[in-house]
């Protein structure tokens, strides 16, 4: 509680005027003290509304949601009730807004007066791209009707609001890790058995179902042959989010990293929905590892981790070489979400030797170009050079057997994923067509 009082200022002024009047022996100067004396007396009398009785203001906060997707709007309602026995002549209320929240409608502050039992209400809408926001309290400043006595206090009314990253509905991402888990799922296990797609044939074993006998092969070879189908199982999928600040691009008030986070959320949701065991490593200032798991509860944990993830730099994690490989089961599927820096290619090549690797790379060039205020010949030239560099980098990755999704963040992720999963010939043709077309 803080208090400001301008009464001493007035008292000093009056004393100076009285002293001046007496010293200069001028009655008129003494009279000059009279208006400020009346003001002072009125201020002392009005003081009763601020400090004479116990002030009891109670604040209550209501939030329309506790958790909602990023960029959606939440309604914050705040009610302050005067439960004391005195009127508060001047009450200035201002809600303490957590940093990062944007008010889209309404006011967070109000000046009002409250009689005993009366209440004041504030209502406003907020939004944010992503994050967890904690409301602590509302700032209240009370004053008497002349404003000579001021009192500042904080009324506690906690609240918490989470904006989880937006995600896109993805369909049919085919992954092919070398190892799968024992439970049945949607990932081709490279093992014959019960399944949908034909895998191969083998000698008939006692106990094989009759409907699985391949009669054509049996007739051709003259002995019983059983058809085998490829088993479909769940897999270990580890998402690695590149949270290095140096890998981020800021343009037009937007951050490429936020798009990467949204892509990670979309992928997490997709792989969980497919029944896989999904973990998340955020690689930036430090390592933030969300232990792998299955199901809806794991999705909540992953989304919470993505809600709080922040980009940052650290000397230890400048390059990707310090990705802790012991966290990921050998032969499992890794999905790296990164714009990619030049030194990352070699690390990804090494990872490819142990894991199946997909790189989802938000395109920093298209992102920045779309947000440039003007484009001239120099920009065009720079764009072409950088484009070539990036394409070379992606081609190196593709040659190493890494599946690359080159994503222009202003386009839906779904389309980029679909294009990246086309057959290699079609992919090459599409790539050639894209190369020939500059964006101006």
């Amino acid at each position: 509680m803080r208090e400001f009082r301008s009464l001493p200022l007035w008292a000093t002024l009056i004393l100076l005027l009285l002293a001046g009047g007496f010293l200069l022996r001028r009655g008129e100067i003494l009279l000059l003290a009279l208006p400020s004396l009346i003001y002072l007396i009125a201020g002392v009398w009005a003081n009763s509304s601020v400090s004479a009785g116990p002030i009891k203001l109670v604040a209550k906060r209501e939030l329309s949601d506790r958790q909602l997707p990023g960029h959606e709007e939440a309604v914050v309602r705040l009610e302050v009730r005067n439960e004391g026995s005195h009127r508060v002549s001047e009450l200035r209320l201002r809600d303490r807004l957590p940093q990062g929240l944007t008010v889209v409608e309404g006011e967070t502050g109000l000046v009002t007066s409250l009689g005993p039992g009366e209440r004041a209400e504030l209502e406003y809408r907020v939004t944010a791209a992503r994050g967890r926001f904690v409301f602590t309290g509302v700032e209240a400043a009370l004053a008497d009707s002349l404003g000579l006595n001021l009192l500042e206090l904080e009324l506690p009314c906690p609240g918490e609001l989470s904006f989880v990253p937006r995600f896109e509905e993805l369909k049919e991402i085919t992954i092919a890790p070398r190892r799968t888990r024992v439970y049945s799922g949607a990932v081709k296990a490279r093992l014959g058995g019960a399944g949908v797609e034909f895998f191969g044939t083998r000698e008939y074993h006692q106990g094989d179902e009759l409907r699985r006998i391949d009669w054509n092969a049996t007739a051709r070879l003259g002995r019983l042959i059983t058809a085998e189908f490829e088993q479909e199982r769940v897999a270990d999928v580890s998402l690695i989010l590149d949270a290095r600040a140096r890998a981020d691009v800021l343009a037009g008030g937007e951050s490429l990293f936020e798009y990467a986070v949204e892509a990670a959320a979309s992928l997490a949701r997709y792989f969980i929905k497919e029944g896989n065991r999904v973990g998340l490593l955020s690689y930036g200032r430090f390592l933030d590892w969300t232990f792998p798991g299955y199901g809806r509860w794991q999705l909540v944990k992953l989304l919470e981790a993505l809600t709080r993830v922040e980009k940052g730099d650290s000397v230890a994690f400048e390059g990707l070489e310090n990705i802790p490989r012991r966290l990921f089961p050998p032969g499992s599927q890794l999905v790296l979400i990164s714009r990619l820096l030049e030194g990352d290619i070699e690390v990804l090549r090494q990872l490819r030797a142990i894991y199946a690797v997909i790189v989802l790379s938000p395109d920093p060039l298209a992102f920045e170009l779309a947000r440039l205020p003007r484009r001239d010949r120099a920009v065009e030239l720079a764009w072409r050079i950088e484009r070539l560099k990036r394409e070379l980098m992606l081609a190196q990755l593709r040659e190493a057997g890494v599946r690359v999704i080159d994503w222009q963040v202003d386009q839906p992720l779904k389309g980029a994923v679909k294009r990246a999963l086309l057959r290699p010939q079609l992919q090459r043709r599409l790539l050639q067509r894209q190369r020939g077309r500059a964006p101006w």
Binding site: F22, E28, P35, V111
Partner: protein, 171 residues
């Protein structure tokens, strides 16, 4: 609106004081009017700098208040039309009060009209009472001996201290 009322009160006070100084000897006139102009400039400067986001300059308005009261004291010392000067001083107090009020309200888009109305009523009433009593006092004439004046000075000081003690919060 409150800011404009405050500025109007201050400019009126400045005009009245300038009018009072217009009958003073040349050197007193230049001195008084110079102080007046400097004080008003300081006050306005603080008001605009606050608007421009430099709250540290707020203190300048205190100097402005001091300068205006100082020029009123000077005008009364030279016996330049006391009713005008007392009216000007009341307007200065009113302007100061409204300026502080406007400062408190700045940054709030939602202000209930009753708060402004109540403050204007209280401040207007207090200023009118102060001015009325001061003008009444102008008609009172009595001589004081040195001893009695000293006693009165001491009594004023003591009562001010008592008033301030009374205003201290109970907690």
């Amino acid at each position: 609106m409150v800011t404009w009322l405050a500025r109007t009160a201050l400019f009126l006070a400045g005009g009245l004081l300038a009018r009072a100084f217009s009958t003073a000897p040349v050197w007193a006139r230049f001195g008084g009017e110079g102080l007046l102009l400097a004080s008003l400039a300081l006050w306005l400067g603080s008001s605009f700098s606050r608007k421009a986001g430099h709250p540290a300059w707020d203190r300048l308005s205190l100097l402005g208040l001091g300068g205006l009261i100082g020029s009123a004291v000077g005008a009364l010392y030279f016996e330049l039309s006391p009713p005008l000067v007392l009216t000007a001083a009341s307007l200065v107090f009113l302007g100061w009060d409204l300026d502080l009020f406007a400062r408190r309200l700045s940054g709030f888009a939602r202000i209930e009209g009753s708060v402004v109305r109540r403050h204007l009523q209280s401040a207007g009433l207090v200023a009118a009472c102060g001015l009325g009593l001061a003008l009444l006092g102008l008609n009172l004439r009595f001589a004081l001996g040195f001893g009695l004046a000293l006693l009165l000075a001491f009594a004023s000081f003591a009562s001010l201290v008592a008033i301030l003690r009374l205003a201290r919060p109970s907690s």
